[in-house]
């Protein structure tokens, strides 16, 4: 039995056309993973920075998973939204952080959409995200495999 702690925060975003931003996030796992505690999805507050370009959220993420297998490592997906002065929300970009929490770009849609998404993905590059994993008590024979995943 192995346990995984995901502790981190969504720091903020910059480089979008507007500065008033918030972020929706969620963590997806394979079917072998069980959430023990913590919230696996959420939404940050809207930050409208008066100084600087970066909208800071500093939104904490704290999850505790148990797993019976190694496939389907948690992935986090982020959506950056803009809220305008009328309270309307608009999607500005989205992206995935893959199973080793290495950054990857999303988008496999139709041609028309992918153009929007590409710009979106470019913006999302500037959404910062820190995360650390703590792995507890992996059984001996799978220990090496886990190391491969987390040493990145």
């Amino acid at each position: 039995m192995a346990e995984l702690h995901i502790i981190g925060q969504i720091i903020g975003a910059s480089g979008f056309p507007e500065k008033t931003l918030f972020c929706k996030w969620g963590i997806h796992t394979g079917e072998a993973w069980r959430l023990l505690s913590g919230l696996k999805e959420g939404q940050t507050q809207v930050d409208s920075p008066q100084i600087g370009d970066i909208a800071y959220w500093s939104h904490p993420i704290d999850l505790h998973y148990a797993t019976k297998g190694l496939q389907g490592w948690p992935k986090i997906h982020l959506e950056v939204w803009h809220q305008d002065s009328f309270g309307r929300c608009q999607l500005y970009g989205y992206g995935f952080l893959g199973d080793d929490f290495d950054e990857k770009e999303g988008g496999r849609e139709t041609e028309k959409q992918s153009e929007i998404l590409l710009t979106a993905a470019r913006h999302l590059n500037s959404a910062q995200f820190t995360c650390s994993c703590v792995i507890q008590r992996i059984m001996q024979h799978v220990y090496r495999a886990v190391n491969i995943h987390t040493s990145i």
Partner: protein
């Protein structure tokens, strides 16, 4: 000592080492040599023996001595007490010195052999290892697969076998050897050996650093192409092309091509030699059949075989026929060519056909031929005969049927025609055996060589001379010129994009083009299609002739290993020429009469091959298999099987089959099980991908724990439950990190609760109705709790960010001014205590401070004299002064009560010192520790603390009894007698943060042995006011240290049906009120039981009280008022905050309240107010604060210009100017029409004017600007009451009595509990009377009666009146009086219970407790 020993040994051996020498001189040890000690101890033993004898110790057992004699070594040195204290004994006397025990090696071995089993290493005979009467069976000899066993040395194996035999376990296989898995060790190492640690590594094994590079291609590209240099290479070899028809063909060319084609066909047939093969087979079968017929005369088993034989013969015949036609055709085409050449007088093609004859021996050939025919004829005859017999049998059968049918019809003819008669079966014709032979002969003539005829072998050569152009006619010349002008090239298209093209080559006269070019394609995309386009060039213009699609090669197909393949192509272009060229898609005929027209299309063959290139190091430059489109999605079984045996890349099933055949896989080898399975499936032709789709299809294989284990884990369960905030686990701080530290007991309570959720336990509740109500309440509670748990996670900014207020100049100025203030130590000012937030508290931090200041009017003991009868007059109704007093008694009062106060809270009991007199002053502070449930000090948890602070006043009575046995001494008994109590719930203290004031003590209506006295010696002015009210009072100050921040109300928006405008107005009204008078409660909207916001005035509506209550006073409805109030007060009280664990007040309507039979002050007040309204009184709801309840609701009535304030929970009423009215502040008044907020200067009811018409004193909610919108009431029109069953009440009464008696006996485990029956029956008579007068006062007569009856008993006791909700509070109330703790030996008890039923199951419970001591 030990050291000394070793030293001795060393010395004996030789010189000491330096270290030993050092030790010798520096260490402080006893120099006594061991033999000296030995002797001295022995000596002492002897001495002791003698002393034993001398002193004649009879107590010393003789067997001890014997023991000493036998085991003198182990005997204790000190035998007697005296020896221990002999002074002149040295430390050696207490030590026992023994030699180190040594057991000889042989002896040790012997001992061990007894204990241990050492398996022998001799070979075990096979017969022992196998079950009896069984021979060893060698599977390998039987041809079954047996894996290679791992090498074990023979000795070890023998030892193991011997051991297993001893253990008697089944570990031996059929061959008498230990069952073993095949050797898992691979023959060769999978890693390259690294022998040269220091030297330079083999360059091939040198590690190369490569920077991680992201895939630069999208998913369309081959993933994993991490190495930009090593892209994949596809080699396309275009060798050349041959036209089988071209528009420029002349007629001769066509025939020539046909001839070549036929000849090719002939060659392949010849090579395969199917005819010969089939003939051999036929002969073999024939022989076998003959043998079979000879050996078995039966027919049936051979039927199947003969059928097979027959089909083989048919096959052979058709093949023979084909051979023969082919040969004929070749000859025919050649003849045509020759005719054509002669006709046109020139030759265009180089083909020349020779027919080689092979002569045969005519005689033997004929013989063979005849034999063959005869054999066939015989066989055919037999077959036809058999067939005929079969048919005949069937015919007979059918004839029988037909006859039967016929008969039936004859019988049933009279009934009319029913069925058409089945036609009469025809008898089968007898086959003509004579014609068979003729038929066979014809056939043989047609398909076989004539006997004796030479065998013809055609040979085609291209040796004919082509006539030169000059000699040809003009049309032919033009054709040849046209051919010469044309040239061809091919384009290579990869994924429909041109990547390369061959050189242009001119068309030869033989219509063959040779390119001989190889193209190396470096690819990054996955190959989707590879095609060649053949172009024809005439001059500068070129046209597409045809397109050839080439298959994408398998990854195992690499350059050099693949032969050229020919791909056919054709084009349906129509081309016509005016010269000899026949064109394409043009009908033409070779017959003279123009019949049998054919139209030929341009067609041909391209010979080329596609393969994967090979890199420098012989690595195929092919993409990995998984990237190969197609063939991958065939399920995991497929993948596994192939990759397991290391034959990756073999995707073609046929190839796998071939490979399996070649490599001679052992079908029994378990390693090959999967591939065998695969081949079996493949050969049956059903290789289909599984029909399901799975994301993680290898999940099962990689699991290291099963689902069940994961579910079973206690730790995970605990974590999950804590996360879900289940009540039992919500406040778990630490969850053990190890599974074994989580005990099952943790879950027991939770599981029990889950189990009990469905079952309603009626036993615990004494009353089934109440049990149901309790369940219902529990459900409401849970749903509300869940809502609040959700709401708790909605945070505001202020919850997360605490910003210290920046001090302004004003505040700074005040602080500075304070410094200059004169210090006045004698007038200390109250300092604001620091508030502590709940989360950083732990056990022991919180203390409850109870300051008991003083008490008034405590009842005093009555003199135990028969002569003094105290006249006592009851006062009914409104409080009045006591009119007459007995002066005699007054003399004794001051010393006749010694009260002390006992405070109990959370099982801690503290008491004050004992004071003297009915108006004692203690002024004592008691500190009681507080611990929150589960160690959870969160606001929600603290609010839900249900504990109450019990403040009991006792009288300390000292008895002096003369013990008759002892005579002189006097024993003093201290006895405490309960006088009254005050209960304050902790939730009130928590929400109020402090409670200060004078409280009325709940005293029993009658206190046996005590009387209420009026002190005449008090002279303070306060007493005048106090005397207005009767009863005992106590002044208290209670607070919590440190001060806790009370929880805020939940900010959740509830659904509502109210008008939006009304809600806004009410919000504004409340906000204004809170701003101007923050300490005055103001409520305009409340939440009902379903969680909806309701305007408060909707709750007020006149509702008639139960008829029974009014019937008691038919003449004067005003008299019924106190009875109605009592009825309301008898409904059990249950604060919402405690039950719902949040600062949310739920208001139930009156019918809900009466059904639930539980509610807090608001419900009581609303019900009482509604009753009063129906009685025709002017009544309002007062929203205010009271002690000890805190914010609460009271009822105000106007009677004869006098305002009365009713406490709905106790049924008491107070005048407006009553000092001891618990109501402290009036916030607002509510009736059905309006809400008025108090905007007067004061809040105390004494100083408030209740005239609501004055707008400057009371601010109305509905005014002229915002008129009452006509809100309908949510109360029912009428309340329905059920009469309570008297029998049920009587039963309840008995049960309570029985339980209480048991409990009292239980509380007195050490003393016998005697019950005075006589007293009990007397007491029982009082109780209904007490209920009748509602416990207001008691008729003195009864007491005197009791007193006179009991005579010599010293009696103390009291009746308790309780509201019935559950049995537990009753038991607790009885326990808290401490009546059971009377220590006197001759005490007797009396207990009487009376339950008075009111409508709707409202019960008033009276318990009369008394203790009697015989004086």
């Amino acid at each position: 000592m030990y050291l000394f020993y070793s030293l001795q040994i060393q010395v004996g051996k030789g010189l000491p080492t330096a270290e030993e020498a050092f030790n010798f001189f520096t260490l402080n040890f006893d120099p006594d040599p061991p033999d000296v000690i030995e002797t001295s101890s022995r000596r002492r033993q002897k001495q002791r023996k003698t002393t034993d004898e001398d002193e004649e110790h009879e107590d010393v057992d003789e067997d001890i001595q014997e023991e000493n004699e036998t085991q003198s070594e182990e005997a204790p040195l000190v035998q007697t007490q005296e020896d221990l204290f002999v002074i002149d004994q040295s430390p050696q006397d207490f030590l026992e010195i023994r030699k180190a025990e040594y057991v000889g090696y042989q002896k040790l071995l012997q001992l061990q052999s007894e204990l241990l089993f050492t398996p022998s290493f001799r070979t075990v005979p096979t017969s022992i290892k196998l079950p009896e009467n069984m021979k060893p069976r060698y599977l390998e000899d039987e041809g079954l697969y047996v894996g290679e066993r791992p090498p074990v040395s023979l000795t070890n194996e023998n030892i193991l076998e011997n051991r297993i035999l001893k253990m008697e376990e089944k570990w031996f296989g059929d061959d008498g050897r230990i069952i073993a898995l095949p050797n898992p060790i691979k023959e060769s190492s999978t890693r390259p050996p690294l022998f040269h640690m220091e030297e330079a590594l083999d360059p091939a094994l040198q590690t190369v650093y490569r920077k991680a590079v992201k895939s630069k291609y999208a998913n369309l590209y081959i993933a994993g192409a991490a190495d930009p240099e090593g892209d994949y290479q596809l080699d396309v070899d275009v060798s050349g092309l041959i036209f089988s028809h071209h528009p420029l063909f002349s007629r001769e060319h066509i025939l020539g091509a046909r001839l070549a084609q036929l000849y090719d066909q002939y060659l392949t047939r010849q090579r395969n030699n199917l005819t010969g093969h089939l003939t051999d087979k036929l002969n073999g079968l024939r022989n076998a059949l003959r043998n079979m017929l000879e050996s078995h005369s039966g027919l049936n088993p051979t039927q199947c075989f003969s059928k097979y034989y027959r089909s083989t013969r048919h096959l052979r015949d058709s093949e023979q026929e084909k051979d023969r036609t082919l040969l004929k055709n070749i000859v025919k085409v050649w003849k045509e060519i020759k005719a054509l050449r002669e006709f046109q007088k020139f030759t265009n093609t180089p083909y020349k056909l020779y027919l080689r004859r092979e002569n045969v021996d005519r005689v033997s050939d004929e013989q063979d031929y005849e034999d063959e025919i005869l054999a066939e004829v015989v066989e055919l005859e037999a077959e036809t005969e058999e067939e005929y017999q079969n048919k005949l049998a069937e015919y007979k059968k059918r004839l029988e049927e037909w006859k039967l049918c016929r008969k039936k019809q004859d019988v049933s003819e009279s009934e009319g025609p029913t069925d058409e008669p089945p036609p009469k079966p025809e008898p089968p014709e007898r086959p003509d055996l004579g014609s068979i032979e003729q038929w066979v002969r014809e056939k043989a003539l047609r398909i076989r060589r004539k006997p004796g005829e030479a065998i013809l072998i055609p040979e085609l050569s291209a040796s004919a001379n082509i006539t030169a152009s000059e000699l040809c006619p003009r049309a032919e010349k033009a054709r040849r010129e046209d051919v010469a002008r044309r040239s061809l090239f091919t384009k290579i298209l990869y994924n429909d994009k041109e990547v390369s093209r061959t050189d242009s080559r001119s068309l030869n006269t033989d219509f063959r083009v040779h390119f001989g070019q190889i193209f190396n394609l470096k690819i990054v995309n996955c190959p989707q299609s590879i095609s060649l386009q053949v172009f024809e060039e005439i001059g500068s213009s070129c046209s597409l002739l045809a397109q050839v699609f080439l298959p994408v090669p398998e990854p195992s197909v690499v350059t050099g290993s693949v032969p050229l393949e020919e791909f056919e192509f054709s084009s349906n272009q129509r081309v016509m020429f005016d010269h000899e060229g026949v064109g394409s898609d043009v009908p033409l005929s070779f017959e003279a009469d123009g019949s049998n027209k054919q139209s030929l299309l341009t067609s041909g063959k391209v010979s080329c091959c596609v393969s994967w290139g090979i890199g420098d190091d012989d690595v195929p430059l092919a993409p990995p298999i998984s990237q190969q489109p197609g063939g991958v999605h065939s399920g995991k079984g497929h993948l596994d099987a192939v990759s397991y045996i290391g034959a990756s890349g073999l995707y073609d099933m046929k190839k796998i089959g071939e490979w399996a055949k070649q490599s001679r896989l052992d079908p029994n080898d378990p390693k090959n099980a999967s591939i065998m399975q695969l081949l079996k499936v493949a050969s049956s032709g059903e290789v289909t991908a599984p029909e399901y789709f799975r994301l993680e299809h290898l999940q099962e294989e990689f699991n290291f724990v099963t689902d069940e284990e994961l579910e079973k884990s206690g730790r995970f369960r605990l974590l999950k439950l804590r996360n879900q905030e289940v009540a039992e686990f919500r406040n778990y701080k630490f969850i053990p990190a190890l599974e074994r530290e989580v005990t099952d007991t943790v879950f027991q309570e939770y599981e029990k609760r889950l189990k009990e959720g469905e079952v309603i336990d009626t036993k615990e509740h004494l009353d089934s109705h109440r049990a149901l109500v309790a369940k219902y309440l529990q459900k409401i509670r849970e749903s509300v709790i869940n809502r609040f748990l959700l709401a708790k996670h909605h945070y505001l900014l202020s919850d997360l960010v605490t910003e210290e207020e920046i001090p302004t100049i004003g505040i700074l100025g005040i602080n500075l001014f304070k410094l200059a203030e004169p210090k006045r130590p004698l007038k200390p000012q109250r300092k604001e205590r620091k508030k502590v937030t709940a989360q950083n508290l732990s056990d022991g931090d919180i203390k409850l401070l109870v300051n008991i200041i003083r008490a008034y009017d405590i009842p005093v003991r009555r003199l135990q004299s028969k002569h003094l009868i105290v006249p006592f007059r009851a006062a009914l109704g409104f409080p009045t002064r006591y009119s007459t007093k007995s002066n005699l008694i007054l003399l004794y009062t001051s010393s006749r009560v010694r009260p002390f106060v006992e405070v109990s809270f959370q099982r801690t009991v503290l008491q004050t010192a004992t004071a003297d007199g009915p108006n004692p002053c203690w002024n004592e502070e008691l500190q009681l520790p507080f611990s929150a449930p589960n160690g959870d000090y969160s606001t929600a948890s603290l609010q839900s603390v249900k504990d109450e602070v019990f403040i009991n006043i006792f009288d300390e009575v000292v008895h002096e009894t003369n013990d008759k046995n002892r005579g002189k001494s006097i024993q003093t008994h201290i006895e405490k007698r309960w006088l009254g109590s005050v209960k304050i719930p902790f939730s009130t203290i928590y929400s109020q943060s402090k409670i200060e004031g004078t409280f009325k003590v709940n005293t029993p209506a009658v206190l046996l042995g005590y009387s209420k006295e009026k002190s005449h010696f008090t002279n303070s002015g306060f007493d005048i006011l106090r005397s207005l009210s009767e009863g005992t009072f106590i002044t208290l100050f209670i607070t919590v240290d440190p001060q806790l921040v009370p929880g805020e109300s939940v900010r959740e928006k509830f659904d509502t049906q109210e008008d939006e405008r009304l809600l806004q107005a009410s919000e504004r009204f409340e906000r204004d009120a809170a701003q101007r008078y923050p300490d005055r409660p103001c409520i305009t909207t409340v939440i009902d039981l379903s969680g909806k916001t309701v305007f408060i005035t909707r709750y007020i509506r006149p509702l008639s009280p139960p008829k029974e209550l009014l019937d008691e006073f038919p003449n004067n409805p005003l008299e019924a008022t106190p009875l109605v109030a009592r009825f309301v007060s008898l409904i059990p009280s249950l604060p919402d905050q405690v039950s719902l664990s949040a600062t949310c007040d739920l208001w139930s309507t009156c019918d809900q309240f009466l059904t639930l039979l539980a509610g807090d002050e608001e419900e009581h007040a609303v019900l009482l107010c509604n009753y009063f309204l129906s009685l025709g009184k002017k009544a309002w709801l007062i929203i205010g604060t009271a002690i000890p309840e805190g914010p609460t609701a009271y009822v105000l009535t106007l009677e004869q210009n006098l305002y009365l304030i009713w406490n709905p929970s106790s049924g008491q009423f107070y005048g407006q100017y009553d000092t001891f009215c618990p109501l402290q502040a009036v916030g607002c008044l509510v009736n059905a029409d309006n809400v008025w907020f108090n905007i007067q200067q004061y809040t105390s009811p004494m100083r408030v004017s209740f005239d609501i018409t004055k707008a400057n004193l009371w601010k109305p909610f509905f005014s002229r600007t915002f008129s009452h919108p006509g809100l309908s009431s949510i109360q029912p029109e009428e309340l329905v009451y059920r009469r309570t069953d008297r029998a049920a009440a009587a039963e309840l009464q008995d049960r309570i009595e029985r339980i209480l008696k048991e409990k009292i006996m239980e509380w007195r485990p050490r003393q016998p509990t005697r019950w005075n029956r006589y007293c009990t029956t007397t007491l029982k008579q009082f109780l209904p009377k007490l209920e009748l007068i509602r416990g207001q006062d008691v008729a003195e007569g009864h007491r005197h009666e009791l007193q006179s009856l009991l005579g010599d008993y010293r009696i103390s006791g009291f009746p308790l009146n309780l509201v019935f909700s559950e049995i537990r509070p009753i038991i607790e109330a009885v326990y808290s009086t401490g009546i059971h703790s009377v220590q006197a030996s001759n005490v007797e008890f009396a207990l009487a219970v009376y339950v008075h039923p009111y409508p709707n199951n409202v019960m008033s419970v009276w318990i009369y407790l008394a203790s009697l001591v015989l004086t």
